[in-house]
Structures are given as C-alpha cells and as structure tokens.
Symmetry: D2
C-alpha cells in the first residue's frame, strides 16, 4: 500500500527509479513565508553527489534539483513543493547479466517475491539513488528548523577502523573524502579503503548524526517518540542494519549510576545535564541536549568477488559485479543521515506546535 | 498531536497511566472470523506480569484483560476490539517526594517541558505499565498471523553478562526468571543480579526477538520497510536505546564477501539462503528467513543510590528511589518485544495483501 | 483496515457495539492544561440521551461517561483521554427474530457481505449508539476551541415540514423535543410526528449546524479542506444521505452575481462579507464568517409496517419491527452533528497551528 | 500540515499551481502487474481538457501527461508512479489587476489569511487546474478496478435547467458539450448557456456519478465509510458545495416505507434489491447495487459583471474579470467527479482486501 511518504505534518513523498527518466518528491506541509531557492537544496545534494572521489561510485550525475511548485517570489507559500531531478547518466544499455538473477545482499529476490515484477536496471526503486530526494527535502527541513538548529554528521567507523574521539574536529569532516572527523584517521582510511577497493571487496560503516540547538519538548509519546521516529528514519536508509541513540547498545552493559544523566540548576534558572548518555532524548521527548543518533551500514552488496546467487528460473549462478560501485556505501550515507535527522526534527517541531501552541 | 496509535491496517491505540483507574487499548482493523477469547491474551500478559520473581518489580497487578467489543460468539467481527485492564495496586498514597522534582533517567523533565503539566504518580503515561496493552494487542496480532508464524524472544545480555550462543535452547527460556536461552548462564545471572539489586543499582540488557515462518514479501519500500517499522516499534518501548536487524552493528566491521547471504536453489525449486546475516530482511522486505531483531535496554532509572536532580523550582536536590522497582527492566521487555514483532508483522501481512492480493 | 478513528492532530477512535458491555473512545492529541471534568461531557450526552420524549427511542441509558486517563488534577495532560460508557439497557434477550435476516434500510446485509459475520443484537457496530462517543469527544473538542467559538444545531426539516426561517430563534431550540428553532413549527411537528408514529412509519429530517466565532484560516487545501472534512464527518453519522455547506445544492440554480459573497472594508481595517452564501468556507478555508453545514437524515429504517427482506439462507421473508425505535432518528442527530462540527474544527485549529504557528 | 494527498492504501498526492512550470502527482500503493501506458490516462484528460467548446475556458493546454516512474516494460511495478503535466499556456504576463485584491467567490482572501502569502497568478494552488492530476490518477484507479467496474458521470442540472430522467441516455453524454444524458435538454442548454455567457454571468450545476459493477462489501465503518469518503472526495473538488448519495436530500422528505429498498431472493441464491434509494451504500458499505453520488457546483466565480471586493490594503474595489473563464465550471467537473469516484473505489477495494482477504 502507500508507503513512499514520511512524516505527519511535514511530509515528503518520493518517487523514481535508478534508471528512469527522473526522480522526484513532494514536500507537503511546509510552513509559508520561508525564503527558498534551488541553491538552498543544491548545496546539500552536492555533498551527496557521486563521483567526487575514487571512494564513491563513478556514476556521473549533476543532481540538479528543480523546484516546480510551492514557492512564489522566493518564498514558500504553504502549498506542496514539487521537486524533480533528471537522471542523466543511467547507462541502462546492458542489464542482461542481472535481469534474470538475484544478487546476494541486494533486494532483487525480495522485490520479485513481493511484486512478481521488478525494474532490474540499477536496482530500480531499491537503489540508493532515491536518497537524493531525501537530501533535497532535508534542505527544506533545515530551513524550517532555522539557523538555531545545527545538524552535522560524520563517519565514525569504516570496516575495522574507528575514529579517535579525542581528536574529533568537525572542521575535519569537510576536508577528507570520508566525512571523517579525525584528520589523522582519514589519512589512514584512504589507504585502507584503497586496499579494500583493489581487492574487489567492500566494507561497512557507522555514521553519527548530531543535532544541536534542538529545543526541549519535541517528540510524542508513545508511538511518535522522537527516538522512535529517528529509528524508523535511519533504518529506512539503504543498507542500514542498526540504529542507536546516545549510548545505544553500550548502555546495556552499564549500571544505573553510570547510565543516567544527572542534573543541576543552570545559571538561567533552568536545568543543566551533567552528561549526555541519553543522546538528548528522555521518554521519547527531546531534553534540550544535543540529539545524537548513530547507524550502521552494511558493506556494499555489489563486489567484484564471485558470489553464489540464483536465477529467476531457480538455477544456481555465480555473480560478479563488474560495473561501477562504492567500496563503502556508508560514506555517502552521511548527508542522507543528516537529511533524515532534519526531516524528523522539522516534522516534530510542527507536531509539537500543533498540540502545545 | 495524535501519536498513541501504531500500525496502518492493523492498528492499536493505547491509553492510560500508571496510577489511573485503568489502562486500555483499541485494536482496529482486525480481520473478522478469528476465534478470540480473553485467555488468548492473558497467557501473554502473564508472561509480562510483575512480581513473579525477586528480579522484577513487586507491584502486584493481576493484569486481567477484558474484551469489551469486537468479538461476537467467540469470533472477531472486523469491528474495533476494546480492551481494558484495571489498575489494582496503584499505591498512589505518597508521591510528595517526587511530585516536584525531575529524576535522572526518567521522563519527568521532558514531559514537564513539553506539556507544562505531568502526572507524576509512578511516571504517569511514561510508565512501562503502558506496555501491558502492547502485550494484549500482540496476542491478537499472533492470532492474525496464525500458527505458521512463531515469535520468540530471549535475553541475550544482562549488564556485563552475555549468553553463550552455542548453548542456545529455546526451552530454557521459560525455565528461568530471565527469559535466558542459556541455562548455565541463567544460574550465573541470578547471583549477578542479586548483587546488583543488593547494591541498590541496576543494569541494562539486550533482547533478541526471532520470528520464524514469516512469508517472503512483507514490508513496503521505502518508508514502510519491515525493518524500519520494526526499528520504530522496538525503539518505542520504554528505556530502549538501540535496535538492530540481523548482524546489525557488527555488519559495519565486515567485508562484503562476509556480510551478504549467498543463495542456492532449494529442493522445491525455490531459493535457499546459505546464511542469515540480513536477519530476514532485504531492501526492507522479508526474505522468508527468520526475522531477527535485537534491542538494547538501558538500566532501570530508579535506583537506591543517591543521584543529583533538580526540582521544578530549579533547585538542586539529591534523589534516592525507595519504592519497588526492577533491577533490570530489560527482563520484562522480552514479552513486550515479542508483542511488537507480532504487531508489526500482522500489520504488514494485511498491508501486503492490500496491494498484492 | 483501521477506520474507526477520525481526525489528524486531534483524533478520536471509538469502539463498542449496541449490546456489548460498554462503548468507549480514545481522544488523542488533546492540548494539555485544559480544565476538564466528566460533567463537561455529560451535559452534551444528556442532550442526545434517548427516551427524553415520546419522539425518540425508549431505550433507557443514563449514558454516564467516565474519564479513565489523560486528566490529572482536573486538567488535561496532553496524553490520550480514555472514555467509557457502560451499556445498561441492552435487552439482548430475544434477537432470534432478526438474527438470520436482512432488514431493509439497515446495514445487516452489507456487514454480512463484508465480514461474513455480524453482531445482530441491536445492529451491533452499525447502531447509532456509537454516536454517544462522538458527543462525548465533541465535548472535549469544544473545550479545545474555547468559549470564543459557539456551535449550535437545529432541525430545519422533518419529513414534509420545514421551519420558517423568519421565525428562527435559537432559544426555541432547547424548548421543544425536536431541537426546532421555530416555536410555532414545533407545535405543529408534534402532531405530525405523533401521526407518523401511530401509523408505524417514520420520517427523515434535515439538520443545520452553525459554528460562530471560527477564525479565518482553518482548512487545508486540497484534500484537507474544511468543507471536505465536514462532509466526511457529517456523512459518517448514521442514516445521513447528503451534506451541504452554505447555499449547498441551491447554489447550482444560481447565477454568479447572486452566488458569491461580495466584500467591503470593515471598521477595523479588515474585510466584511456582505452575505454568507459560502457558508463560511472559500477554497476549503474558513473565511471568518459563520460556518454553516446542513445534512439530510433518511427515515428510521425500523418501522412497524411489514417490509420485504431476505434471510441469510436466501429466503424471502416479511419483516416487521416490534421493538422500541425513534420515529425520526434525525432528532437525536442534532447533538451528534454539533459534536462532529466541534471535532473537525478542533482538529483544524491544531493543524493550522502546526503549519502556520 | 500535510493535506495534499488522498486515500489510504491507494494514495495520490498532487502538487502544482495554475501558472507554475508544471503540475504533477504521485500515485502510491498501486498493485503491481497492471498494464499501463500514458494513453490510458490521456483519454480521460482529453475529456476534461479546456477549450473544447465555447462553453469552457479558452486556455489552451494539451495536458500531455508523462509517466516518470513506477512502470517498467509496460506494467506497474508496485512502486510509486510519478506523473507530470507541463503548463503550456500560463499567460502570467499581467496579473497586476488582481495581485493585491480579493475577488468575491474565490479563495484569494482565505489563502491570504491562512498563509500570509499567495500565488495570485490564475488562483495559484486554488485553481481547478489541480484537478487535471485527479483525472490522471483516476485513470490509474480505473485500471485497478478493472473492466468489471464502470464509472460514468453526467450533468443533470445547469442553472435553472434539469434533465428529464425519462430521456436518460448514456450515449448522449459524449455527444454534446455538456456531458448531458438528455439529448433534447442539451440543445436547449446550449442556447441557455450562450445567453448566460453573453450576459457576462455564470451558472451552477449538479453532476451525477454512477459506478456499476462495484462488489458488495467496500467501505469501512465508521469513519472510513464508502459514502463518507465519497463525500470528502467530491467536496474537495473546486466550487463544490454539496454532496449526496442515492436519494440524498430528497430522503429527508420521505416516509420509512418509501425510503428503504426492499429485498428479495435473486435467481442465484443471492439478494436482489427492489429499488436503489440508498445509492448502493448501506451502513457505509457497498451493497452491490450501483453507487450513485451527486454533487452541486456553484457558479463560476469569475464573471464579467462588476462585483464589490477589497484590496489587501483594506480598500473597497470594484472587480470585473476580463480574462477567459468557464460560464459553468460544473461542466468540466464531470470527468473530475468520475475520477474521484474511481479513486475512492480503488482505495476501498484494496482496503477491503487488506482486512478481509
């Protein structure tokens, strides 16, 4: 049934396949009177764009977004915003090799079982190409949140390698092809990922998204919790297998006295938390602390090493991917994760306003 | 806004606070003609019921569920099923100690910031008492899924202790107070948790839920993915800080050739997977393999050790919990996690049928 | 699927059958901090209560509503409000006469065709008894709207008889058993309806609901228009066959120069409309004028005159209703229509606030 | 908030303004494996296309629809279908005359009050141009319903003129510029509407939509009733002020024995209704009889006669429309009403299947 939209009050609905003529989305429920131009979205799309280093797919897509409705004389009007990006570099010439077979790790088999038909060109709807529209919609969400909210993401793990958190530097993130906040690690990662790539293999990654400036009070118990919606949002990104908030899985190993953030009066008569193990969410509602979400991305499914698969006819087949691919799809998931954080927060900002004025 | 319901076609909506007269829920969209009696729900509620061992809260609640609508002559009619459980052991006598203060780890502060008012008795709406209704609704969901689908949960980690997966025995789960699938570990855990309890502390846990017999094809890309909805479902459970599917976070450290499940023809002309790293979900759609979800529960927030908190008036205060509590809330989360798995699967079974017949 | 709830941000979900132990509803999304007691709802339920004159059903139901959650120390908390009314006078002793047959005008046949099973006692879920919960929920909606919004309903037609609009007097509405705003007509209607009743027949009615004090700006083009949602709300009331806004069907016969409300500056620098043919809605958005909705109710289906029906076994059968019934169900639809107006407006007030602050 | 989509399982979301570069929609939840080409949609768009007679607006729009996703090798894939129509004849050269003023009968004032900003060119989002996407989406809905369901619409009233139902001929509908099922009336209407047009005025209309072949069982009590959703669907069409099902408002004047459709066994062991006063819906569920909906359209708001309006600055102003317009917007509402009927039925077909298999 209808499942290609996300959000309640600020809702976006995407359409399009990897190798169709275009992809697009509708952003519905955007407040009126917000200055918005295509450049405001393009800056985020450019961060996600493929082919910017040897570590991401070589598909050449300018990913130029057009705003076709909902903006008048430079401002949002409150009516739905239609966005379209043309697919330029589809290269759908030859898919005969995969048209009739199910590749390990891909959604080929499950789409076929579900729908009885699938657009096999580049993965069709299951392609990460869809995430371009999340990034574009996320640009609008950032405008809704305003300058007071900052959303930044970083790769904190790639395969066996992790960042050293004592060297965390947000400025480093934009200065290497990995969105890595640890400049020293990034250099090491380049060699590591080159070796992975040359071996025809791939690796997974962990991405951390931090939203600062989020007001306390966002999130709706019990089935519209902020962390519940973030979990759904992040898990819906291609290849994601796990999501955690704050301490996440590490909290399972903790004792109560180490796990919970103590409080003290702050200087303004308010409350200061003495730590942020909770990742900014208590009882499903933002606490005013930074909202911290982390998600795990599995290794790219398309690799050059031969893998055992099956054809539609039920025959065993060896599958080797020969086309372009990302040795670590997790890298380009960073701007996507940022976008999903922005989209969830914008939706909850409006939802909170609905009920609580 | 309205956020106390979950599910699209098979939807349940809960209401009630820890210390109000009753809690309840409405299950809407249940198919007609299913044999259903209160006993079918009570068996699951009995698994979750508090006070069954010294390791869970001593609150005495029979948790007797009543079906008030939607069932006629022993069968569901397709109309909404109203369920109610009376709160018997509220003990709301003395909450003066916490009425005006924010306890660390609890939702006191965030509810107050969001709504400007909160029912402080036993945590009000933020209490895990709400999960009783999930378990009851989950009993109906199991009926919708039918006998072909088996859903079982187990505690795989408690604080620093993990199960030995080579000793996994589903029969052991019901034979110890921890839902532990490793009988040897369970004995060790009893001592461990006694020590935690006597120290006035608490620990976290990891729960694993496995659904077998799930047909291939459930889940709706891209924002109604089966794993996306499972993530939202599990994260919405009280105290949960992380969710993963299949290999989950471990997949981030893997290489492509180790991460993806190869396939081979099976004996019936179908497809057999040679492993289940994916946890039964590919591209957001079930593959026919067991669906495996895992979630992390933080340590119980209420502990006997003094912690720093703040009053509504903005004054520093030391907070010590003196009432009954669970040293590990994760234990009773096992039947809740099972219920959420059942609820998500039942919803998706009907959603799939809507679109695909 | 799940269709027993109404509203987006302010949403209520009802459950219960005519002859079950109770009926109830959950009101989700109510703003916090609103003073609310059971009496606030009871006053509206008392208006709808059966058996208050010889012109409505003699079923004796006190319709005492209980608030089971969502209110703490006399104020709403923002969490879901659970409401329950016990069924007292079910008299389900003898339904053998209708258990196996489809009565003309009733939903017996269609429920059976849809679900393959039906609770035949008093119409089960299709009974107008469900509307009691709308009225209770509507009482909460009125609180959300506040004293500045006035919602009143009246019967403007009963069978062949209409009110004389030149004699319209809102005070008359409460002074006769018909909610008739024309005192002279009400006297005439008593004789008329007595004759209908004695003949064992029934008649239809038209109800008009007027909301004053509604701010301009409520309603969301294009599929959440205020009039679109009002149409859905009113049409969902039992036995309703038509809904119109403002001039409604009469506007089809008009010319442009007579149909549209001209405007002039008002004394406060705003806009005054010179008429209200639009019924307070333009382009799906409230204009600040009174919102006027009208709906037609068909004659009561249960009559004492013999009618041709069919049994489940497919045999022709003559059907005569012998039990208590309303000679004009439209009468008690007045408070229900008021409630639905309140519910739609409260929802849109919050929806508007979500997007537009 | 997000209100530009309609439907639950089969859902479409539209975007676009009268004078933007394009309009579009996303159809989400369409079953897979349905043969679909642009021509399947174009035939319905051509019926609605403006400028086909002197009785509709002279705006020249080819309304060529493109399918940009969701169809692969001629079949739907189950993924969202993106549709786009370019606006060709926007003529947005000179809107200075209406940019700062509120026209009677239009949504100028209410959009401005709601959003504080409006695209005044051709009415922006409030233009009936949006209905082109409904017609396109409706073409897909017809495919979902299949050949067994026939949906036809006709104009049964235009201003003071009505059809003679004894002369009803569906074949006549396509043979005159009014979708009039009474060939004799159509000739008379031409003269009548010419006079209206030459007088610079406009008239309203009533449209009747009949769906035959609808299976019994569609519709979901109590807030997803088939007639409730039809009411919302029809009322959401521009300029509609009333909706009725079957006898509609006429039923208010009837007696019980005349209002309800008696039943008799049919030849196949089923049930035959002896009349169709109910318009094919009982208790919100289709009965298997033709579903009959009727809606009233007010006269075109833009007329050549001077009308009193107000400027944004709050000054009185005389408003005369000089551009192209339809003397009766109701005419082109016929294919739109058909589309909305198809969209509601397709959604309910899938919803029914979800719950009832």
């Amino acid at each position: 049934m209808a499942s290609n939209g996300f959000g309640q009050t600020f809702r976006f609905t995407t359409w399009g396949e990897s190798h169709g003529p275009a992809i697009g989305c509708v952003v519905d429920g955007c407040p009126p009177g917000i200055a918005l131009a295509e450049e405001d979205l393009q800056i985020w799309l450019d961060k996600r764009r493929p082919g910017q280093s040897r570590f991401t797919t070589q598909r050449r897509e300018p990913d130029s977004v057009r705003i076709l409705s909902g903006v008048f004389e430079g401002q949002t009007t409150g009516t739905p915003i239609g966005l379209v990006i043309e697919n330029v570099d589809q290269r759908s010439r030859d898919y005969s090799k995969i048209a009739d077979r199910f590749r390990p790790g891909h959604a080929d088999y499950t789409y076929w079982k579900k729908y009885g038909i699938r657009d096999y060109r580049g993965g069709g709807r299951s392609s990460a190409r869809e995430t371009a529209m999340r990034v574009a919609a996320g640009g609008i969400a950032r405008k809704v949140l305003g300058d007071g909210v900052s959303i930044r993401g970083a790769l904190v793990r790639i395969g066996e390698k992790r960042v050293d958190r004592t060297r965390w530097d947000w400025d480093a993130v934009g200065a290497n092809p990995f969105f890595c906040p640890d400049a020293a690690a990034a250099e090491e990662w380049a060699d590591y990922l080159d070796a992975v790539r040359k071996a025809g293999s791939s690796v997974g990654a962990v991405i951390e998204i931090v939203a600062e400036g989020v007001p306390a009070g966002l999130g709706e118990p019990v089935y519209g919790k902020l962390d519940g919606d973030l979990a759904a949002a992040m898990m819906s990104i291609n290849a994601v297998k796990g999501v955690e908030i704050g301490d996440g899985f590490a909290s399972a190993a903790k004792r109560g006295e180490d796990a919970h953030d103590e409080m003290a009066p702050d200087d303004d008569g308010g409350v200061a938390f003495l730590s942020n193990n909770a990742g900014g969410v208590l009882g499903g509602i933002s606490s005013g602390q930074p909202v911290v979400a982390r998600f795990a991305v599995k290794p790219t499914s398309s690799i050059l090493l031969p893998r055992r698969g099956v054809t539609e006819a039920g025959e065993a087949v060896e599958i080797v991917t020969t086309g372009r691919h990302d040795p670590c799809v997790g890298i380009r998931a960073v701007p996507v994760g940022e976008a999903m954080m922005a989209l969830v927060l914008a939706d909850h900002l409006l939802r909170h306003r609905a009920q609580n004025g």
